[in-house]
Amino acid sequence: MKEFHGRVIAGGNWCGEAVVSHAGVNTLATFQKSALHNDDHVIVSDQNNSDIYGLNITGKALCLPITIGSTTGGLVIQTVCSMKINPSAFLFSEHIDSLAASGIVLARIWEDSDVIAIDNLGEEFLNTVKTGGKVEIKEDGTVIVY
């Protein structure tokens, strides 16, 4: 068990399974296929991200450095949150990027989503957390990796 402390972008208490991308997550490429098919969960469709390609990330803690790619990114996060197929939490090792931040803010203000986002967790966090492993998130930005 190891404890990390980050900055709360959108807080909450949660415990569940982690999915880890060591590369930047391309939001549009990741979510678009499942969202377009109106699926009830997201299977990652980004061909360039071998860490998470083909994995189900709905209801998981998506652990990543930042998001990258198209500026539809924020709207895509807002949309998957409104469809309730979003990852329960976005855990960023680096400072959150502008597109992900937009998506979290849009989801919280306009969709009343309870999506959690914590950033600045540090590189060691990404090196410690493993896909399929358990993480616990606390309201104050603490993330415990089991």
Binding site: T72, L75, S102, L106, R108, E111
Partner: protein, 429 residues
């Protein structure tokens, strides 16, 4: 609400509902967004013409339509008119079979309604649909130093880098909120500090690098950081001419889609690099050397996502981002020479070139337009990405010279010369 940035009395009043509940939510969104980045204030948008990324009425994007309805019901509009990314469909020039049409009808059934919403909020006109809004023919061109509220990653990186304007990589909807409020949070690429380079990229190749592969390599390496690129002016010169515009447009789109680059500096060419030189580079900047071998490594790393990997290409998209007038003209010459070499009169693969409606209108008066059409090429103004989003098109073996399209679809990327060979009927080794 709790906020950290300094707000004016007027902004505070808006947050407290002086201009209605929806406007308060619009400003609250911008303030919360800015607070995340430590923005100390909101600053006025000085280039009032916006550019929106969301041009498509995909039915599932319910939050988009419901938020637009709320803005319209509240009587909110942008101060200046805005351009927007390309439309998803154009049956006249991009023919579809019945199944694909059914797919498109279901996917984009909100298109007409959404365009009506855009008009009510501030869309410039019917021809305002292009990702390359900054081209002369389209005319949404900010000045150096202007503060923008734009989205569309390729347009933002172009405006920041080639025009010297200042814009963050805003998300869809945030850009519209900034245009309605007339303010954007002051952080990141709006500040001098945020425009400094954390990477020195040395281009050390034996020939002019393919713009789309160079951009891809740099994007994947630097992610969201600012690169300062040495050695490209050797190939592009020291003035922003038509060739440089085309090259930098495609290069930037690849940096932004394969990574998250919002600004690059090209030594001796782009405005800030010319004015400030290597003083733009951080002392502890990392170095990335681009060689022929490195570009080939990156090119070979692209996975082939076709269902049948041995399929013969049956559709080709050229023009993501939309082509410039010069690029249309150059492609005409290239294909003409290619067809002459293979002894064909028409292209062997259905080929669609995409360009802004205003560029197409101008190009239609050029004799080369007739030539391209007679060689079997179609010229459209759609977004190829929106076309490839249709699951019914997934069986097609699509080739493209766009690294952005490759990233967001199952299209296969080919270099310009290779794609020309394929569409002209020459077998590739």
């Amino acid at each position: 609400m709790e906020y950290k940035m300094q707000l004016t009395d007027e902004q505070l009043a808006i947050l407290n509902g002086s201009r209605g509940e929806t406007m308060a939510k619009v400003l609250k969104t911008l303030v919360m967004y800015g607070d995340i980045f430590g923005a100390e204030k909101l600053v006025p948008v000085t280039h009032k013409e916006g550019h929106l990324v969301t041009s498509f009425g995909i039915a599932l994007m319910k939050p988009l339509f419901s938020t637009m309805d709320k803005l319209i019901d509240a009587g909110l509009t942008t101060e200046g008119k805005f351009t927007v990314d390309p439309r998803p469909l154009e049956y006249e020039n991009v023919k579809c079979n019945l199944l694909e049409k059914i797919g498109f009808h279901v996917m984009y059934k909100k298109q007409k309604d959404y365009e009506e919403q855009l008009k009510k909020v501030g869309l410039r006109n019917e021809k305002a649909f292009s990702c390359a809004c900054y081209l002369d023919e389209v005319g949404n061109i900010p000045k150096e130093g202007d503060i923008l509220s734009w989205a569309e990653s390729s347009a933002v990186v172009y405006a920041n880098s080639v025009l010297g304007a200042r814009c963050n990589r805003n998300s869809g909807m945030i850009e519209l909120f900034g245009l309605i409020a007339g303010y954007v949070p002051y952080f990141g690429l709006l500040t001098d500090e945020g425009r400094r380079a954390k990477w020195k990229v040395i281009v050390n190749t034996t020939k002019k690098p393919e713009a789309q592969i160079l951009g891809s390599a740099i994007g994947m390496k630097v992610m969201e950081d600012v690169p300062y690129v040495y050695g490209l002016d050797k190939y592009l010169g020291n003035e922003i001419n038509d060739d440089a515009i085309s090259y930098l447009k495609d290069f930037g789109a690849a940096t932004a889609s394969n990574g998250a680059v919002g600004l690059y500096h090209i030594d001796g060419l782009t405005p800030e690099a010319k004015r400030l030189g290597d003083s733009l580079i951080e002392d502890d900047a990392q170095v990335y050397e681009i060689t022929d071998e490195e570009l080939e490594r990156v090119y070979k790393s692209y996975p082939l996502m076709w269902k049948n990997k041995d399929a013969k290409p049956n559709l080709c998209f050229i023009g993501c981002p939309h082509l410039t007038y010069k690029q249309l003209s150059d492609w005409c010459d290239k294909i003409e020479a290619g067809l002459k070499a293979t002894g064909r009169k028409k292209v062997a693969v259905r080929t669609i070139m995409t360009t802004p409606p205003d560029v197409k209108a101008k190009f239609m008066k050029d004799e080369k337009y007739g030539k391209l059409i007679s060689m079997g090429v179609k010229i459209a103004s759609i977004c190829p990405l929106m076309y490839t989003n249709n699951p019914m098109t997934k069986g097609r073996a699509i080739i493209t010279n766009s690294n952005k399209l490759r990233t967001y679809s199952v299209a296969k990327y080919l270099k310009d010369d290779d794609i020309c060979d394929v569409i002209c009927g020459k077998e590739l080794n």
